[in-house]
Amino acid sequence: MPKILIVDDTAFMRLSIKTMLENNGFEIVGEADNGKTAIKKYLETQPDVVTMDITMPEMSGIEALSAIRQYDPKAKVVIVSAMGQEDLVKKAIISGAISFIVKPFKEEDIVKTIKQIAEM
């Protein structure tokens, strides 16, 4: 089972993504609610894919993304963004995010995306 790390500052989103992914054959190995914890958890759990919320307090998703990519250039990070954040998403792509998904999303969208990325 591919291992997933979920990063989002709201418990609701973390629970939503966790529920959707666990129902579809993924193993959630960790959760984080800010960028700093995300990096720590990445090192601890060595997941296959990371879902990363782009707007979080303390340390933003993009900074965490860059740090993770620095540590592991093969890290696969998928950005979770809201509508209207094109600029941030573009920055994320430049910083090494592999792709992104836009809220609100359906279960099948995120499942297919994570699956595809895990298999890359």
Partner: protein, 690 residues
């Protein structure tokens, strides 16, 4: 909460989080309003809250809520970015609070399983209008687009690589993305970002994929077209494109020549851009900070939110354990045995269960601050509507009460605060005439008093009018006693009766006469009481007395014939065996006794409950003097059995629904397995006491 949704953890989480956010939002707005300015911090906070609510509501398909949150988010985005100088903060606060109220109402509907059918369109329009007004008044330089577009990039030409030119293959790719994947322009950008490494002469349509809507629509209709040259084979390129996330369709053609490239190759407009591909400066900075090292943990206390149902179950279990403990240590089989070691172990067990009990109680205790905070909002709304100036002073909000109780206090408190402002505090002019300060003060205080918590609502308004109250009571036939014999306290207590109101006209907030008695009822549910004090022109003070713990009390077991009863220890003043002839009868035939100069009525429990007992004479039994709410009486029983910690269990419904039994607060199991009824001293006092 409706049980229907207890299987839906996501919905519960949504309700919980959103409710919390709304509360924080309200506080932020009211605080900003008070200081007549919205700090950058507050604006950021409010923006983030609305952003989160927008996102989660959309995920749960609550689209009206999401749209409303979006409108407010846009408004605060503008405030954050443009920092306009001319803003009517009062209207802003009103608008946002209106939005908060809308969402609150919808959340209630969700909680109760009702249809979530509120329409936010009107409010959204108001908010958008306000935003346009802000924009015109503050003459924004450019139409603020979200997000800011990056430089217009017309063409992109890769840095020429050294390898031989002639072996390059030429391709044309057209990519269609899946419907609903959103931000197709950025997805297109991602492809280009990944292509540049191994391609030369890369062109694409549409060109401005960093712009917003237009390129997205073009891509949706015509697909994203890319022309490029590369060393890679067809299969390799096909594999590359097929990896695109949210790919719907790919058309990949290998071209004979690069004629199609001609239309892109216009010499004068060539811009050689390298910066797009470089890794951003962010990473360079971070390597300095070396974030990969262990970061210090946050200084917040670690908190965990627990489902109240679980806590209730825990309470029940602890209660059962206390009973079970009694059944072991007070088992009749070992009653007469001398078991030293056993007793030692029993004491240890008792100590531990006691600690466990205390801990569980403590967990359920919640400070009153959240409830008190809500009162600020009510204050504000009422003051605005009635045009009065009132300050709210809060003392002792850190005082804790059981979680159950908090829910029953909220509504009564709101009503009492409304009363104070509506009835109590006079209009500004009137106050000044009386020599008072223009702004009225309502003080909300909470403190511990023995095993109760006192919540006091005090205002410095005009006080209660005794004559009017007596008048109204007489009119409605509510007077039980002769008015001359009533103390002030008793007169004021009349307002707690149903149907009572001395207000001439009914306002939106009060005057319907259903308020105070509902307050008293709500309090009674949790075992609390209301008392009223007032001084004409100085103000009114209402005191709510609430017991700290409902479920486990220290009780004294007593015997009456074959029946067992338990009296809450805190109500017992003393117990004694009267001497022959000490008791007498008063003119009405009621039995009484004098103790240290005071007269107390006697209640024969065996008569009251019609239980047979051999002990009929006072000198053979025992008199227990009990007191509650300043009313005292003596209970006559056969003998005292001993003190015990007792778990109060409510009487079963089939009894409660059949007949209201006065004087019984509940029941419990004794150590020998028999049932004991817990006496409610207050229930006796009302009918018998002085």
């Amino acid at each position: 909460m409706s049980n229907q949704y207890s299987n839906e953890p996501m919905l519960e989480m949504y309700i919980f989080e959103t409710s919390q956010l709304l509360e924080q939002l309200e506080q932020a707005i009211i605080a900003s309003e008070k200081s007549s300015s919205y700090s950058q911090e507050a604006i950021n906070e409010i923006f983030r809250f609305m952003h989160t609510i927008k996102g989660s509501s959309a995920m749960m398909l609550f689209n009206e809520i999401s749209a409303l949150a979006h409108a407010i988010e846009d408004l605060f985005y503008f405030l954050r970015e443009q920092k306009p100088k001319t803003v009517d903060y009062e209207i802003l606060s009103d608008l946002v609070l209106e939005g908060v109220d809308f969402i609150k109402v919808e959340i209630e509907k969700i909680k109760n399983g009702d249809e979530v059918n509120g329409e936010a369109a009107l409010l959204i329009d108001k908010i958008k209008e306000f935003l346009s007004l802000l924009k015109t008044e503050n003459a924004c330089v450019a139409e603020l687009k979200r997000p800011e577009p990056t430089k217009n990039q017309q063409y992109y030409i890769a840095v020429e690589k050294k390898s031989g030119q002639l072996s390059k293959s030429i391709y044309k790719a057209t990519v269609f993305f899946k419907e609903g994947c959103e931000m197709e322009n950025i997805r297109a950008y991602t492809i280009i970002h990944n292509l540049v490494e191994f391609t030369q002469e890369l062109f694409y349509i549409p060109e401005n994929i960093s712009e917003n809507d237009e390129s997205i629509i073009w891509i949706r209709e015509n697909g994203f077209q890319i022309l490029f040259k590369t060393d890679k084979s067809y299969e390799e390129m096909h594999e590359f494109f097929m990896k695109t996330i949210f790919l719907k369709e790919l058309i990949l053609e290998q071209l004979e020549n690069d004629d199609e490239f001609e239309k892109f190759r216009v010499p004068k407009k060539i811009i050689i851009e390298n910066s797009e591909v470089k890794m951003p400066k962010v990473s360079a900075q971070l390597s300095k900070d070396n974030v990969v090292k262990e970061t210090t943990t946050t200084s917040n206390q670690s908190m965990i939110s627990v489902n109240v149902e679980k806590l209730d179950k825990l309470m029940d279990l602890v209660g059962e354990m206390v009973i079970a403990e009694a059944m072991v240590t007070q088992n009749p089989e070992i009653e007469h045995l001398e078991l030293e070691n056993f007793q030692k172990a029993a004491r240890q067990l008792h100590k531990i269960t006691g600690e466990l009990q205390d801990m569980v109680m403590a967990i359920r205790m919640v400070p009153l601050s959240t409830t008190f905070l809500k009162m600020h909002r009510i204050m504000r709304d009422m003051c605005k509507k009635l045009g009065k100036e009132v300050q709210l002073e809060v003392i002792g909000e850190e005082t804790e009460v059981d979680k159950n109780i908090i829910e029953h206090i909220s509504d009564p408190l709101m009503h009492l605060i409304r009363n104070s402002i509506d009835h109590g505090i006079e209009e500004n002019e009137e106050r000044l005439e009386k020599g008072k300060e223009k702004a009225g003060t309502v003080t909300l205080e909470a403190k511990n008093a023995g095993s109760d918590v006192l919540v006091i609502i005090k205002d410095d308004g005009k006080g209660l009018n005794k004559e009017k109250i007596l008048q109204k009571a007489k009119e409605n036939g509510l007077l039980e006693k002769n008015e001359n014999e009533m103390t002030d306290k008793e007169i004021y207590a009349l307002i707690l009766l149903p149907g009572f109101s001395t207000k001439e006209s009914i306002t939106e907030f009060s005057g319907r006469g259903v308020g105070m008695d509902v307050v008293a009822k709500n309090l009674a549910v949790v075992g609390g009481t209301v008392s009223v004090e007032s001084i004409a022109d100085r103000g009114t003070t209402i005191t709510l007395k609430i017991p700290l713990t409902l479920a486990i009390i220290d009780g004294m077991n007593i015997k009456v014939g074959h029946s067992r009863y338990t009296i809450p220890i805190i109500t017992i003043k003393e117990s004694f065996r009267p001497k022959e002839g000490e008791c007498f009868k008063d003119p009405d035939g009621n039995e009484m006794i004098m103790v240290r100069g005071n007269c107390y009525p006697i209640l024969r429990l065996h008569e009251h409950y019609r239980v047979h007992t051999d002990i009929q004479r006072f000198e053979e039994g025992i008199l227990i003097m009990v007191e509650q709410d300043e009313k005292a009486l003596c209970l006559f029983a056969d003998e005292l059995l001993g003190q015990q910690q007792v778990v109060v269990k409510a009487l079963p419904n089939y009894i409660k629904n059949t007949k209201k039994i006065r004087g019984v607060a509940g029941c419990t199991l004794l150590g020998d397995g028999s049932i004991s009824l817990i006496l409610d001293v207050g229930g006796f006092s009302n009918s018998y006491a002085m």
